[in-house]
Every structure is written in C-alpha cells, then in structure tokens.
C-alpha cells in the first residue's frame, strides 16, 4: 500500500516537476512567474488531442503540439512580457500573465467545450510489475520521459555553447550583452523550451486527469510549490521538488483524515513554509541585494 502510494506519487510528481521546470526556465529568462504556464500546458494537451482526433499518431501529435506551444510562448514573451520586463514593472507583469491565464482558459472552453475528453496514453495501457508493485505503463513512461528531458536540458545548459550563452545571459546580463550575446534571444529560447516542456507535461498527464478546461489549475499550484521548494532558479531543483510534492500530496491524500480536501492545502503549506524558512529553496541561490 505504501509502496503503491509512493509509486503513484513519483509519477504525478514527475509531471509537477516538468511543469515546475517550465516555470523555472521562464523565471531564469525573465525574472518573472508566468501564471499562464499551466494553461499553456493545457493548450498543448488540447492540441495533441485535436491532432489525434484528426487521425495523427499520438507520438507525432505530441511533437507538433510541443513545437506549436514553443512558438506561441515566444510570441507571448515578445509581445506581452518583454516590454514590461524592460520597464521593471512587477505588478503589471503579474496582471498580464494572470490575464493570459484566464483568457487562454476561456478560449479553450470556447473552442473545445467544457466536456471532458479522452487523450490516449502515450505509452499504452496496462501495468508493469516493479518490485511487487503494479505500476501503469503510462506512469513508467512519464517518469522516463521527464528524466530524458531533464538529462537533455542538463547537457544543453552545461556542455553546449548555446547553454553557456544562456547561463551567461542569466547570471550577468550586462556583461553578456557586452561580450556579444543577444540576451533577448536567450530569453526567447528559455520561453520556447518552457512552452514545449509544458505541452509535453500537459499531454502526459491528460489521460490520468481527463482532459477538461479545469485540469491544469491544481497542477499549476503543485508545480509552483515544487519550483518554490527546489529553488526558483534551479532546474534540477524543480524536478526534485516535483517528486517530493507529488509524494507528499499522495501520502497526505491517503493517510490524513479529510485527505482529499487537505491535499489541496498541501501546496499552500509547502509554499508558505519554504518561503519563510528558506526562501531560496533547496537548490536555489540566495539573492543578495547590494544597497
């Protein structure tokens, strides 16, 4: 029973981690939180569903959806976010991404109605026996996919010239600009990857939560909790945070009285607790302000 809960927790946690990764990439690029990240992922899931409904194989559908969302994210970044980031306006930034979140959600409801849709699991149905625990093929596939994405991004950031430029643009934008790096372009690349990863996460979780317009809002809060826990500027932190949040959420849901209700309070408790005790998260760097 406990092992079963742990396995379920790791699988949902991987999804939270993936979405948290998108949040972290955007935060590193623009120093802002994108409240629309969950709805962008939802849009990705709907694009995948639509393509499958048109007869495209699910694998191809996911790739097309990831590309589409990457493009859309870059557009959102360029048109809506960058002008405000340049003016250092924190409050309008929050208002704009909040507006984007509501608008995308409403447009999804408009285009695809509020009825639930079924997305086929990417890795087929059925279960696999792991150490005496029955784990669904989809769950195993989710964990492996997210791991692969994480390793791929790790290599991109640490071992390629592009990754080096991105890290430079993040850690010291002015010096990076002076050495000929276009910080605007690295910003866009950050948003593009975030959009793609989000679309993947949305498509992967859709078979379990059933695709409907309200699907991603709770996931987004868990992803925010995961990103806060891991450290808002740390990609590995986001993944570890996601797994921890997924496991804690599952255990709380099972073992606490009124568990299914308290589950949703878990995210709030984690966010508040981390921000009070260790605001930079587990892996994040402390922000030092020079007066």
């Amino acid at each position: 029973m406990l092992l079963q809960q742990l396995a379920d927790g790791v699988a949902t946690g991987a999804i939270y981690g993936a979405l948290a990764l998108a949040i972290v990439l955007v935060y590193r690029a623009s120093r802002t939180l994108n409240f629309a990240q969950g709805e962008l992922a939802l849009l990705g899931a709907y694009v995948s569903w639509q393509l499958v409904a048109w007869g495209v194989p699910i694998w191809a559908a996911v790739i097309v959806s990831m590309a589409a969302l990457a493009v859309l994210s870059v557009a959102a970044e360029k048109v809506l976010v960058r002008p405000l980031v340049k003016r250092h306006q924190a409050l309008p930034l929050i208002i704009v991404t909040l507006g984007l979140m509501i608008a995308i959600n409403a447009l999804i409801g408009w285009a695809w109605t509020y009825q639930t849709k079924e997305v086929p699991p990417l890795f087929g149905s059925g279960t696999i026996d792991l150490l005496g625990v029955a784990v669904s093929r989809q769950d195993v596939g989710i964990v492996l996919t997210v791991l692969a994405v994480a390793i791929g991004l790790g290599i991109l950031f640490e071992y390629t010239p592009l990754g080096l430029r991105m890290r430079a643009a993040i850690s010291n934008p002015e010096s990076a600009e002076l050495s000929g790096i276009s910080t605007g372009r690295t910003m866009s690349i950050g948003w593009a990857i975030a959009g793609g990863v989000g679309a993947l996460a949305g498509t992967l979780i859709a078979p379990e939560l059933f695709l409907h317009p309200g699907m991603m809002a709770p996931v987004l809060i868990y992803a925010f909790a995961a990103a806060t826990l891991g450290g808002l500027d740390s990609p590995p932190g986001a993944l570890v945070g996601g797994i921890v949040v997924g496991v804690v959420e599952n255990l709380a849901g099972t073992y606490l009285p009124h568990g299914s209700d308290f589950k949703q309070v878990v995210a709030l408790v984690i966010i508040v607790g981390v921000l009070l005790l260790r605001p930079q998260g587990i892996f994040g760097r402390r922000e030092v302000v020079r007066v």
Partner: protein
C-alpha cells in the same frame, strides 16, 4: 466612448509635438476638481437616488445593486493594498469567505446580525494580520504566489473544516430585518450595504489622503527611503494587509446575508480574479475606481454570458492585459482625461 476621447488631443494644437494615443492614455492625471456647489449637489442627488432605489425597484434589481456595493467594499480594501500599498493579493476571496462564514456561523450560534457583521470584520482582520506577518518578508512575485495558492485552497479548506462549516452542504442564513422594521429582506440588506459602503468609502478617502496613505505610497515606491524617514515599514505593511482583509470580510458578511446561504463553491479562484479585475479596470490607487470597477464586474458578466459561457473569462483576461498596457490608471484615468478640461471650465469656483 473611446473614439471621441482619442480625438480630443488632436483637435487642440497646444502640445508642441503631437502625442500618440497610447501615450495620452498612459498619462497620470489629477482628480477632477469640480466647484464646490457642483460637488455638493452631485453628492446629495446621488445619495438621494441611492436611498430611493430599493423603494421603487423590484427585488432582483435591488439584488444586483447591492452586489455592486458589496464589490465596491472589496475593491476599496484591495485597492488600498495593491494600488496604494503595492502589495499583490490574488487571494482576497479567502478573506471574503471568512467574512461570509463568520456571519453564517454567528447566525447559527444565535448572535445578532450586528455582532455577526462585526465578527466578519474582526476575524479576517486577525487572519490577515497573521498572513501579513510573513508577507513582509516576501517580495511582489512571492506574495502573488502565496495568495494564489490561498485562493485555490479556500474551497478545500472550507470543506475540510466540516464541523464548523458543514462542508459541501453549506449553511443557510437568516438575513431578514428586525421585526419592527417595515422592510423586505432585499431592501434591508441593500440599506445595510449602502451604509457600510458609504462608511468604507469615506474611511478609505481619509486613509488615502492622510498621513497613513502617504506612508503606504512611500513604502510602495521606495521602501528604504520611507524607513529612513521614520515610516515603520513592518507595521505599515501588516496593518495594511489586515485592514484590506477586513474590508473583504465585511463584504463577504453582507454577501452571505444577501444570498442567505454560503457554500464552499462560492469562494473559488474566479472570485479572486474578478476582484483583481475590479481594481485594475477601475483604476489602481484611486478611491472612486472601486465603484467603476464594481459596476464592471457586476454587469459585464451578465452581458457576456449571453454570448457564451467562456466569454466572461475571455473578456476578463483580455481586459486585464489591455488595461495593464494601455490604461494603467483604469477607467478613472479615462474619465479624468476626458472630462478634466470640461469640469475645470464650470463656473462658480472660489479662487
């Protein structure tokens, strides 16, 4: 409306360089300054009209006007926090819910309506104070994150506190007037809301214009400078958060009395988002903005719901984005910009 407004600056050739429409919309503006006779007349006429409304209208109209006043109270408090204080809250639906449940639980315990409404202000104030304590350590984005999580957790928390709130079954409330009063339920709650909204409006105006309001703005714009000038930043922020929560709580209490029922699903994220839309549309850091914003969130959804179930959300989202970019001072800024010159020309001013 916007077309004749945008035409105005072009017609006058005063500015040396022609100002773009976007720049004209984004310009900060002074409040309208009508001559004293006009200000007094419009307040008296407006007050008389508001008092007369429930006597001549059917109850469903009274209901919507009462809701406008309830949203106004929330907007006044939230604007103090966000507009004047520069702190974000996406979670005021939580304080609204606490106020509503204070009235509901108070009613069940046999408290009078007056005591229940007082509890609807005090309990959110205390909770807001406790939430505000950590808020002082968080900068804008983090506070937005915490309050968003708070808004999302509110319905679940209400369900989980079942012994007090009766979970999903909700609580019925008796919102009838005292027996000696010759008023129907809708008229009674209307006058209560009108009185409280008027009090809230006057208090907010005093707060915004006085020493406290200036210290809020100082903390918002330059925290370090404010501190060196002797503003207690810590106290200012926590008290501001608590006060703002108390406004939302009173509004929630009135809402519970108006609907005579509360349940967990009344207080979801959409409610919080409509509160944020309210102050952004009305105008951040302006007191009259709360009224214009309240009219917006009450009447625009009834218009858009005819088009589609999704149209309200789409409108809110697009409006939030457009206002953030083009109308940072909200509808109040637009009204001031278009009527400012006209009002300044009205005779009868003492010099």
């Amino acid at each position: 409306m916007s077309t004749d407004v945008t035409a105005a600056p072009k017609a006058r050739g005063e500015a040396p360089r022609r100002e773009s429409v976007a720049a004209w919309l984004r310009r900060p503006r002074a409040p309208l300054s009508p001559p004293r006779w006009l200000a007094i007349t419009s307040v008296v006429v407006g007050a008389a009209a508001l008092v007369a409304v429930p006597l001549v209208n059917p109850s469903y109209i009274n209901l919507t006007v009462t809701l406008v006043m309830i949203w106004t109270i929330v907007g006044l408090g939230l604007n103090l926090l966000v507009g004047f204080g520069g702190q974000v809250s996406l979670g005021h639906s939580a304080f609204f819910a606490i106020g509503a449940y204070a009235v509901a639980v108070g009613g069940e315990a046999g408290w009078g309506q007056g005591l229940s409404l007082l509890a609807a202000a005090v309990v959110p104030f205390v909770v807001g104070y406790v939430v505000g304590l950590p808020a002082l350590r968080l900068h804008g984005l983090q506070l937005g994150l915490v309050t968003l999580a708070l808004a999302m957790a509110t319905p679940a928390a209400i369900r989980a506190l079942e012994p007090l709130t009766h979970g999903s079954r909700g609580i019925s409330i008796d919102g009838d007037p005292p027996s000696w009063m010759p008023l129907a339920h809708d008229q009674w709650v209307y006058y209560l809301a009108l009185a409280l909204a008027a009090v809230a409006y006057v208090i907010t105006r005093r707060l915004a214009k006085g020493r406290l309001g200036r210290s809020f703005v100082a903390v918002r714009d330059a925290e370090l400078v404010a501190e060196t000038l002797g503003v207690n930043v810590w106290q200012t922020k926590t008290r501001l958060f608590a006060t703002s929560a108390a406004y939302a709580g009173v509004a929630g209490g009135l809402y519970a009395m108006l609907l005579e029922f509360v349940g967990p699903e009344n207080f979801n994220l959409a409610l919080s988002i409509s509160f944020v839309t309210l102050i952004v549309v009305g105008g951040l850091a302006s007191v009259p903005g709360a009224v214009l914003g309240a009219l917006f969130v009450q009447y625009v959804p009834t218009l858009t719901s005819d088009i589609s179930a999704a149209a309200t959300g789409a409108t809110y989202g697009v409006v939030l984005i457009l206002f953030a970019f083009f109308l940072p001072y909200g509808l109040v800024g637009l009204v001031r910009g278009s009527l400012g010159r006209l009002v300044a020309r009205i005779p009868g001013r003492r010099t």
